[in-house]
């Protein structure tokens, strides 16, 4: 029973990591750079979620599902716009610069977004009272009872649905095909009539949208947001992306879920103090034996 409860905890946490990790991995796949500002994009999504839910209350929308749908769609739309703008301002001008330049520019964006939100929203924590309460209780009430809250269920279901959708999207649609082509060889894709700039923009829009989704769900689940949450979440999601194989979308999903499970189980059976040690220890072990991560591809460099 205890093990099952910890699996639920781990899956919930892992779903969040996975949603954010996809943004890292997609950008890395196409541009070969790590977008360090991605954690901040997630943070902006979380803020927008709380703000929209608050505004919905002001405008008299009391139905929780409606407010939630509104929050998710608005947060995803606005955050995607942030992602698109960020790419145009910080990365597009550096498309042909040495690889270090966009990396520095990404760190700059990250610092900018943190301070931007701190000035706009204040340095205090923003709290959201629990919107969706209750859950399922499984097992004997006298013994150890498993609790599976509705928010946790929502988080896991949304993640699974979105991931399945994204996989189909990348596999089946024209845009997805263009993304895969750009990822393999940007120059060749351009020769074949794909506009790489547009494809890159689309990548940023999708990645940011998913981060925003994670942000809204997180503020719903934990009820606490501040301007610095993006840093830690970003590091964890980046770890998840590397664990699964950076550049690979299924890898990011697997990496995220795995990282969440490792943290929960390490905390459950060893000590909470060292859960990060376990997580990073396993990451190191995986990278020793599979340097490209669990599902990363191994392109042969042509000489």
């Amino acid at each position: 029973m205890y093990f099952l409860q910890q699996c639920i905890n781990g899956l919930t946490l892992g779903s969040i990591y996975a949603l954010i990790a996809i943004g890292y991995t997609m950008v890395y796949g196409i541009l070969g750079m790590i977008n360090f500002a991605h954690g901040e994009i997630y943070m902006i999504g979380a803020y927008l979620g709380i703000i929209v839910i608050g505004l919905a209350g002001v405008f008299g929308i009391t139905s929780t599902p409606v407010a939630l749908m509104l929050a998710i769609s608005l947060a995803v739309a606005i955050t995607s716009a942030y992602g698109w703008t960020m790419e145009k301002i910080a990365y597009h001008p550096l498309r042909n610069a040495p690889r270090l330049a966009p990396l520095i520019s990404a760190i700059g964006m990250s610092i900018f977004f943190q301070n931007f939100v701190q000035i706009g929203q204040g340095a205090k924590d923003l709290a959201l009272p629990p919107l969706i309460q209750g859950g399922f209780a499984i097992g004997d009430p006298a013994g150890f009872q498993i609790r599976f809250s509705h928010v946790q269920l929502l988080l896991i279901v949304v993640t699974v649905v979105v991931m399945a959708g994204l996989t189909l999207f990348i596999k089946g649609t024209k845009i997805g095909m263009a993304m895969r082509a750009t990822e393999q060889d940007r120059g060749m894709a351009a020769l074949l009539g794909i506009n790489p700039d547009r494809t890159i923009s689309q990548t940023f829009i999708i990645g940011s949208g998913l981060a925003a989704l994670a942000g809204v769900l997180v503020s719903l689940h934990y009820g606490l947001v501040n301007f610095s949450i993006g840093f830690l979440a970003g590091i964890k999601a980046f770890t998840a992306a590397v664990l699964g194989g950076i550049g690979s979308i299924p890898g990011a999903m697997l990496g995220g879920l795995l990282l969440g499970m490792i943290e929960a189980l390490a905390s459950a059976y060893f000590t909470t103090e060292y859960k990060d040690v376990f997580a990073f220890g396993i990451l190191a072990a995986v990278l020793i034996f599979k340097p490209n991560g669990l599902l990363g591809h191994n392109y042969v460099e042509k000489v």
Binding site: P130, G135, A137
Partner: protein, 373 residues
């Protein structure tokens, strides 16, 4: 070219004026620094300290200031980060402050105090409760709050004698303050015959404590004692109730801000807390409390009035000894009694308050009150 040159000349002239301006207009003021987390997750506490000190300085200046000079309050933001605390301390030293009120987090107060001690700048912390703060033979460092060995003992006493709880989980946030307090509580609990059922540390900044909460649930405890600050405490208590754990939750002065209940929501109901006897209730504080409530629409909760009182102690000392010499001032403070908004204050030779100020509070309806019985 000539335009550029003219611009350059104009710029140089402005620069010179800029340099001259400072000493020309600067009046003789006494600078007192206020250092604490003005931004970050614990900005609420920084605001408590700053609001209290600011109003105290305003009242002080209306009454003539210190030795006939006006007092200026210089804020310093450490964000509860030990590295930033040291940088802020150096910055404040360079601004020639005569005394520092702060910091908030013990993990900031301790590294910063080394800087102040070296420069012989008087430091009074209104809120850092870790015993080590005053145990390092710095004779220009005092505090107007209690110590965690007193606080941990008060909590353990209540758990063992009043609640008669047998199974206790102790959780801390691995900071100087949080772990220090948890360890003191553990020591006192053990001496009262209660062996903790669980002892774990969490990471600050995490949002998900569900794995730990499940562990607590499995340990089947009657009470969870938490050493840490309100952001983490609120998340833990909320996730505890989400998982159907009914154990009592108890923490220290790190959760004494209504922001705790904002995040914890209904889970804050019945949470226990140790803090000094409510400063808002003392007769001497009524005028200040009313001014806060009416003019600033602010409830001077937590450490606000303690910070106010700290300014009072400083001003009275400087005015009596007619100097801002830190060593003399500290000596004066340790040998005299002060009548402040939080009541009568007396320091011992180490710079601590001479009596333990802790009482037990209970959270109810999003706010906290002393348990009277």
């Amino acid at each position: 070219m000539t335009i550029l040159k003219a611009l350059f000349n104009l710029f140089s002239v402005l620069l010179i004026i800029g340099f001259c301006q400072q000493p020309a207009i600067a009046k003789e003021v006494i600078k007192i620094a206020l250092a604490g987390p003005l931004t970050g997750s614990y900005a609420q506490f920084g605001a408590q300290l700053e609001k209290g000190a600011r109003l105290a300085v305003k009242h002080l200046n209306q009454k003539g200031g210190i030795m006939g000079k006006q007092v200026e309050l210089i804020p310093g933001d450490d964000a509860c980060d030990p590295k930033q605390a040291r940088a802020v301390a150096n910055n404040l030293v360079n601004q020639n402050v005569v005394a520092v009120i702060g910091h908030f987090c013990s993990s900031s107060t301790i590294p910063a105090s080394e800087v102040y001690a070296e420069e012989q700048i008087l430091q009074i912390t209104p809120a850092s409760t870790n015993p080590k703060v005053t145990e390092r033979n710095i004779n220009t460092l005092l505090r107007t709050c209690g110590r965690d060995d007193q606080q941990g003992a008060a909590a353990a006493e209540y758990i063992a004698r009043k609640l008669k709880a047998k199974r206790v989980a102790i959780i801390h946030d691995k900071t100087t303050y949080g772990q220090g307090l948890a360890d003191e509580a553990r020591k006192s609990l053990r001496s009262l015959g209660i062996q903790e059922a669980l002892y774990e540390g969490i990471s600050i900044g995490d949002k998900d404590y569900s794995a730990l909460v499940s562990k607590i649930k499995k340990a089947d405890v009657e009470l969870i004692y938490f050493g840490g600050l309100h952001a983490e405490a609120a998340l833990i208590v909320r996730q505890t109730r989400d998982q159907g754990v009914k154990a009592l939750f108890m923490s220290g002065d790190g959760i004494v801000d209504k922001a705790f209940a904002d995040v914890a929501g209904t889970a804050s109901e019945g949470v226990l807390m140790t803090f000094q006897a409510d400063p808002r209730k003392t007769p001497a504080a009524q005028e200040v409390v009313n001014e806060f409530k009416q003019k600033e629409q602010y409830d001077p909760e937590g450490y606000t009035l303690v910070s106010y009182a700290t300014v009072q102690v400083l001003a009275e000392t400087y005015n009596k000894i007619n100097s801002t010499n830190s060593i003399k001032a500290a000596q004066y403070m340790k040998s005299h009694v002060f009548d402040t908004v939080i009541g009568v204050i007396r320091f011992d030779a180490k710079g601590d308050l001479s009596t333990s100020p802790y009482v037990i509070y209970r959270w109810h309806n999003g706010t906290y009150a002393e348990i009277t019985n």
